[in-house]
Symmetry: C2
Subunit: 406 residues, 2 copies
């Protein structure tokens, strides 16, 4: 088991009433930086444990998604669960949940009960649309939040290029972004509470998936509001710079080239053996290159199709033109830079032997946190937490288990 240094969040304890992605991703990030995460799961486990590839009934994704967390089972539908849960709250700095708005209140976790259990508790709610407003009760699907936040429309080929629908960002970006914003909200609130000039009071953080996405939309809203311009998708390109795209290679891969300044473009055309292109009036300066991006990309693509990705990357790197093969999992796993910085690492996992994990982001050299353990089996830490944090005896825990509370 790898042991990091403590990490900057050592000493912070967070209760997770999360499931699926958004809430648990928030706590993965906090746990990576050293926070003690207590993940409450129903006895059947977080359903995300069924997602993705399984080995022996165990989810590989969960090895990373659940890492550094202490799993405690609690059947929230049992009448004896609430007092235990509130006692756990009493031992925590913050709580993260991503049930439907109002749901945890129905379990008895009202704002008043939480504040009484732990004065100054920071509570973060993650939901599809937020905790209030006319749409708060709508079902919260990540893809819907992404469509409402605006990223789906823009992640598509340019209008008129194809009849295929706009592409989903390849991962659950809405959920993950909401998790990051929840982490930011929690940390801002605990700093304000605990700091030297802190006010010692709690705050409630309310993150909507749709809003986490909207927050990333650059000039989309200001430009629409002032000029009525509806931003359009640009496919593999960028609307304001050329050439920059992914180009096909002879070995069936994609090479990303970003040569959208005059010096870079001159170096690219020289490496292509077509230096005249740099003087071609269609491509003189970024503005004209953007206007003729389709023609330019055809020329570059015809060249890249004649060599392998490895050859092309070697030639262009020698010519100092920014480029890279478009990485699949295979290239990520063997990337020297990722390995050198511990960002791709082998983690011992009793369920699988060894599992490849992404490292800790951000990297804090003198206090890096780490992967203390991989995603644990359901309830692996129930005894440890109930006895260690709440002082319950073995027989008391056995009795709770027998009654179906755990």
């Amino acid at each position: 088991m790898e042991t990091g240094s403590g990490g900057p969040l050592s000493g912070l304890r967070v209760l997770e009433l999360g499931h699926f992605i958004a809430g648990p991703f928030c706590t993965r990030i906090l746990g990576d930086l050293g926070a003690d995460i207590i993940k409450i799961e129903p006895p059947s486990g977080d359903p995300v444990r069924q997602w993705g590839e399984q080995v022996g009934g165990h989810s590989l994704w969960f090895s990373a998604h659940g890492r550094n967390k202490r799993s405690v089972t609690l059947n929230l539908k049992h009448k004896d669960a609430l007092p235990l849960l509130l006692r756990l709250v009493g031992q925590c700095d913050a709580l993260v949940e991503n049930h439907r708005p109002g749901q945890i209140g129905k379990f008895g976790l009202t704002p008043e009960a939480l504040e009484a259990a732990r004065p100054g508790l920071v509570v973060a709610h993650v939901s599809g649309y937020g905790q209030n407003g006319p749409d708060r009760d709508r079902a919260a699907f990540g893809v819907i939040g992404e469509a409402i936040g605006g990223i789906r429309y823009l992640t598509n080929h340019a209008p008129g290029t194809t009849d295929l629908p706009p592409v989903r960002v390849g991962v659950s970006i809405g959920d993950s972004l909401a998790g990051l914003y929840a982490a930011i909200g929690i940390l801002a609130a605990v700093w304000k509470r605990d700091g030297i000039a802190g006010d010692r009071r709690g705050r409630t953080v309310d993150v909507a998936l749709s809003e986490a996405v909207l927050s990333m939309m650059e000039g989309t809203l200001p430009e629409y509001g002032a000029l009525g311009i509806v931003r359009q998708p640009a496919g593999a390109r960028i609307n304001t710079a050329a050439p920059t795209s992914a180009y096909p290679t002879a070995d069936g891969k994609w090479l990303l080239i970003a040569a959208n300044s005059d010096p870079l473009f001159a170096r690219l055309t020289a490496a292509m053996g077509q230096p005249d292109l740099a003087a071609d009036p269609r491509f003189a300066g970024n503005r004209l290159r953007v206007r003729h991006a389709a023609e330019l990309d055809d020329i570059i693509g015809a060249w890249t199709k004649r060599a392998s990705a490895a050859e092309l990357e070697r030639w262009l790197t020698e010519a100092d033109v920014p480029c890279t093969e478009v990485y699949t999992a295979a290239e990520i796993a063997r990337d020297e830079q990722f390995r050198a910085r511990g960002m791709v690492r082998d983690v011992a996992d009793p369920l699988f032997g060894t599992v490849l994990h992404p490292g800790v982001v951000p990297h804090i050299a003198d206090d890096p946190g780490g992967v203390r353990w991989p995603g644990p089996p359901i309830g692996a830490h129930t005894e440890e937490v109930l006895s260690g944090l709440l002082g319950l005896s073995g027989p008391e825990i056995a009795s709770l288990r027998q009654e179906g509370v755990l």
Copy 2:
């Protein structure tokens, strides 16, 4: 000018030596939550001010990107700039920069000088590849970090669907993610430094664009490491759930439908007037629906093409099937939920009159931060900061300006 409450980060002062997106996005998020952001710009301004649509020579995007920041000009190439900069550091809690690795050291901002100027300073570096390792000096283009982190490969139609290249996520997702992780690192470090049991020391946060992206890749690495499975793109769909996609409408829009459970699917087929589909053996259960997703999407798409997006959304919402029109800027701007929560708001901007801004994420109801002012003109706060924070007199500032330091 809108005035929020203080926000949880009121009392935190952050010096930004940022340009373009990643560093400034970090400080936008911190400033939204109340931090005092001092943005150091060269006398010519952050080049991001030239990006996107301009009105009267001013960037609309910057109205949001630069909001809540105090802009101070400083010519870092002038020999008299460093002492001033270090005096400013002395008044700050944290510093964010996104120059090339090592660059700010060449200006004289070495780790030793920074710690001497402000013991316990938290320093966040954002770069393409990170502050060390074999690739640290490579040029940092966002699209390249996205390709290396793995998101570009997965944001594409399924293999064999089209020859078009993988799509760029519609915004600068790598830069923005790096900014969010930098914010998390800074807040974790100031909590550890300033908290009740804080250690009163600074930390160095090191965020790479490529790593910020990699951190979001779900089970991609664990599944490759254990099983050799190279995760593949799924276009508009999700590899593990169906139906969920964007479907064309009669009025040329896209409707997002997420009906990937048996009850939702039954409600969808009933709303379509084709309830027999729910009993069709090809579509019995999620696993079979995923296997026959292309056929299923053709059927659904043939239905959606016969009505407008507004009609479809009304029918499906009545049937309690999660759906939404895929929002462009126009739909975002008029969304009632966004408006109700202040997530789309009109901000008075002396440069433009009124500008539409995204709101503050996360939403903290009892201490919400806010938009105190929009992105300011270059150097708008130079006098205010140099006199207010450093105690310089009017003649001293005038002299610095005359010498070209400001």
